[in-house]
Symmetry: C2
Subunit: 103 residues, 2 copies
DNA sequence: TGATTATATAGAAATTTGTCTATTTGTCAA
DNA sequence: TTGACAAATAGACAAATTTCTATATAATCA
């Protein structure tokens, strides 16, 4: 799984996708459940989920006819950490993260 | 200055802008210097700089005819922290950040 | 003042993105 | 096996984005 700063940024650079991410942040939801809550068509939701999938930001579980998605918090934390190290290397919070990661 | 997760993500969701960000990460550069290094036209660079400015990601210093830009590492760290708290709240690195910020 | 330089703004063209409808694929139940 | 349901894919279209050239604005210098 490639986690690049640009791919990550593109994936989260859309309000609808951030809404979906918040929905599945701490629980598994099927595509239909996400469709219901977000209010866009099912293909539109599938499209957004595919973008999140390609960026490595969601976990996927297939169960019969249904597919469940949940947020991959680990990868999101890694991407945010990469961004901070790349673009805020002299910041004290970044330095604290580096310490945690290297510990 | 409004620092929203979507505005931040849109601002960094472009390879050229990330290149510019890397260039001015730890030093002040004039627009002409950035143009030279990035290789796009001056208006294109000005446009990208305006997007970074509107997202609160750069510091600006005017000096005579020239305008110098440098990355606002503080705001970038804040935005990344917001993203982590919003989308990776259960991650141990996020928890470490929260501790640092609250300390 | 007039010429030159640095940057920003305006406007246009090409590309990318987000959304939809229609269709396909895959799974389950009768 | 047939029908129904869930999700993915294809294709079209509108809106947004990225880039360019041309022009405007502002500062400096002869």
């Amino acid at each position: 799984m490639k986690l690049s700063p640009v791919l990550f940024a593109k994936a989260i650079a859309d309000e609808t996708r951030q809404n979906i991410m918040k929905l599945v942040c701490c629980k598994w939801l099927s595509v239909s459940e996400i469709v219901e809550k977000v209010g866009y068509s099912q293909p539109t939701i599938s499209h957004h989920l595919a973008i999140l999938r390609d960026a490595g930001l969601v976990n996927i579980r297939e169960e019969g006819k249904q597919t469940f998605y949940s947020l991959n918090q680990e990868n999101i934390a890694v991407c945010c950490g990469q961004l901070m190290i790349k673009f805020a290397p002299e910041n004290k919070v970044t330095e604290a993260i580096v310490k945690v990661v290297n510990a």
